[in-house]
């Protein structure tokens, strides 16, 4: 009879099936639990990070209270600390950088989505992205040794002779100060804003663009009437992400900004930012109050960057969802975004 053969096979099959069933019963919950544990760990990590930074700032906070934020003095000898000068430096350097980087990134995105011949779009986009990959310490080294002398000897005298009547561009030229910091931060933020703006521009429906052309619009009129309004939320989100990066950059800024506490009208004068002060002083901090005050500075910085990033992510997420409704088109942006 042929029955014996299937029977034999059925026995073996039952055995492997039983083994596989056991594996499946265990495998599913194991993998599921592992992935959930990993995800939970990342959330806990974020919470712990915020707690630990604020915890380290507590001594300074109980000593100075919220008045710390408005105090301009920073004196390790007398033990008086305040954040006002660093908040000023952070705000001016970050906004200054975005003032240049924003329009420039939009222009680059327009070039890459509308003007460039198809063959060079990908390579040029990659090159712009690679700019974001340069480590900040290398950019800072370049800032000290190449950019700073250029700023002192060419750029600042030229700016002064043309715009010297504005206090921002008055004062004596110096290699280290807000201006080189702004330029370095511009270089760091342009690729970030450009990558996101480019992705948003790419989602503008072709029919709308062609409609504008059919009405006789020039390319620039089409951009102004169709692309920019359509992509505005995405641009704002991208600029805010760039702002988050510019606020928090410590190393490259500390290398070129001059590390001097003080509020000056001139962009040529040395200054300092929150991140840069923490980076330059933590090592040499003598008292626990000074260390705690530096932690207070980083807590303020953390709050600023959390606000900028939260708003930016919400906007970017909402617009990309509205514009594409699928995961595919945004994947490249998300990967480059993840990298920045």
């Amino acid at each position: 009879m042929a029955a014996s053969v299937p029977e034999l096979n059925a026995g073996a099959l039952r055995l492997t099936r039983a083994r596989r069933k056991l594996g499946d019963r265990l495998g599913d919950p194991i993998l599921r639990t592992l992935t959930w544990l990993a995800a939970a760990a990342s959330v806990v990590l974020l919470a712990l990070l915020v707690y630990k930074v604020f915890d380290q700032a507590s001594e300074s906070f109980s000593h100075f209270g919220l008045g710390f934020i408005g105090t301009r003095e920073w004196n390790a000898v007398s033990g008086k600390f305040g954040a006002a000068t660093f908040i000023y430096g952070t705000a001016v350097s970050a906004f200054g950088a975005l003032l240049i980087a924003g329009p420039m990134a939009i222009a680059i995105a327009l070039f890459l989505t509308e003007l460039a011949p198809r063959a060079i779009r990908r390579p040029v986009a990659t090159l712009v992205d690679l700019l974001a990959a340069i480590p900040s310490v290398v950019l800072g080294l370049w800032g000290i040794l190449v950019l700073a002398p250029f700023v002192e000897n060419q750029l600042e005298p030229a700016l002064k002779s043309v715009l010297g009547w504005i206090p921002l561009f008055g004062g004596t030229a110096s290699p280290f100060g807000l201006l080189p910091a702004i330029l370095i931060l511009t270089i760091m933020t342009v690729p970030i804003v450009a990558a996101i703006t480019r992705e948003v521009f790419a989602t503008v429906p072709t029919e709308l663009k062609e409609g504008a052309f059919a009405l006789g619009a020039t390319r620039w009129e089409m951009v102004r009437a169709v692309i920019l309004p359509y992509a505005r939320p995405g641009i704002v989100g991208g600029v805010l992400l760039g702002l988050g990066r510019a606020l928090g950059e410590a190393i490259a800024v500390t290398q070129v900004i001059g590390d001097t506490a003080g509020i000056h009208a001139s962009l040529f004068a040395p200054a300092d930012t929150l991140a840069s002060r923490v980076a330059s002083e933590y090592q040499g901090a003598a008292t626990t109050l000074q260390i705690s005050s530096l932690a207070y500075l980083s807590a303020i910085l953390l709050v600023f960057s959390l606000i900028a990033n939260t708003i930016a992510r919400l906007i970017v997420r909402r617009t990309t969802r509205r514009l594409q409704g699928g995961a595919t088109a945004g994947a490249v942006a998300d990967i480059t975004e993840a990298e920045v």
Partner: protein, 302 residues
């Protein structure tokens, strides 16, 4: 307008007449196109400028001694950064061992297991974590692991792992989400268990993209200085592979050299920067190439 354009012998279409207004519109258009092109040129030029300066100034100080010798004792010339090369390899290696598996698991969780709402919240958390300034990450690890103990390779690697985690997880999620659901459904329809489907069908399909995320994460943290300043910077000048002590690293070494006064130090700084930038850019290029291949393998038009 249309009437005049229809008649063959009639006057030329008004839009085609080069009156002052049209000339102005065309001029504005040309100016704006020129500005956009110029902006792209400047961005590429700055990249070229930075790379070329690093290349030109770094190449002269780059030699075998630089790669294989530890820094010269104070006051002597010569020496290299072998301790920093070994240290960076150690730190990045340890950070990767933690961050890559955990990051991939998080990517699996958000793309395969978590309900959409929860997945969205977890990804939001990762984005926020990614936006934390790296100097603040350094302060966090300082408070967590260094206060009361001492700087160590473990602390430095942990700080780097925190920075790497969201990069790996986000990239993994994005590429896993690209895997066609028909593939998964085919597996499930054949009675293959969920975890087997995920590990033998979904993950292999997305492997290229997941590797891309890992490489980008490595490239990013290899150049990080700020998180190491308080966690792993007071290091011996000798080659050390003991992570319970602080180890040297290339970015921190560049930072020290850049703040130094002598041209010899600057030359060494350039050489170290050249080494770092070559490594980072190479990883980036490889990662991007892999990602392109992975996408076309999954069948997404790129």
């Amino acid at each position: 307008m249309s009437a005049s354009a229809a008649g063959p012998p009639g006057p030329v279409h008004p839009l085609l007449v080069s009156d002052g207004r049209l000339r102005r519109r065309k001029l504005v258009n040309r100016t704006m196109e020129g500005t956009a092109t110029l902006a792209a040129l400047i961005a590429v030029a700055v990249l070229a400028l930075v790379i070329v300066s690093v290349l030109l100034k770094g190449v002269s100080a780059l030699n075998l001694d630089f790669l294989t010798k530890p820094p010269a004792p104070f006051g002597q010339s010569g020496g290299g950064i072998s301790n920093a090369i070994v240290g960076t390899a150690l730190l990045v290696g340890m950070a990767s061992v933690v961050a890559i598996p955990v990051g991939l698991l998080i990517g699996l969780c958000t793309s395969e297991f978590a309900p959409p709402r929860a997945a969205s919240s977890i990804r939001f958390c990762l984005d926020i974590l990614n936006g934390v300034p790296t100097i603040v990450t350094g302060i966090f690890v300082f408070g967590l692991l260094v206060v009361g103990h001492q700087q160590s390779g473990y602390a430095g690697a942990f700080a780097l792992a925190i920075i790497m985690l969201p990069i790996v997880a986000r990239a993994a999620h994005e590429v896993l989400a690209l895997v066609p659901s028909t593939l998964k459904e085919a597996g499930l329809a054949l009675g293959v268990a969920r975890w087997r489907t995920v590990l033998t069908i979904v993950v292999p399909t997305a492997a290229g993209g997941m590797i891309t995320g890992a490489l980008l994460g490595v490239a990013r943290v290899a150049g990080e200085t700020a998180p190491l300043l308080f966690t792993c910077s007071i290091a011996s000048t000798q080659v050390s592979t003991n992570p319970s002590q602080a180890v040297a690293s290339i970015p921190v070494r560049i930072f020290e050299l850049s703040e130094g006064p002598s041209p010899a130090e600057h030359a060494q700084g350039w050489a170290a920067a050249l080494l770092l930038i070559l490594f980072v850019l190479l990883l980036n290029v490889v990662a991007r190439a892999l990602y392109g291949r992975a996408r076309s393998r999954i069948g997404v038009a790129s």
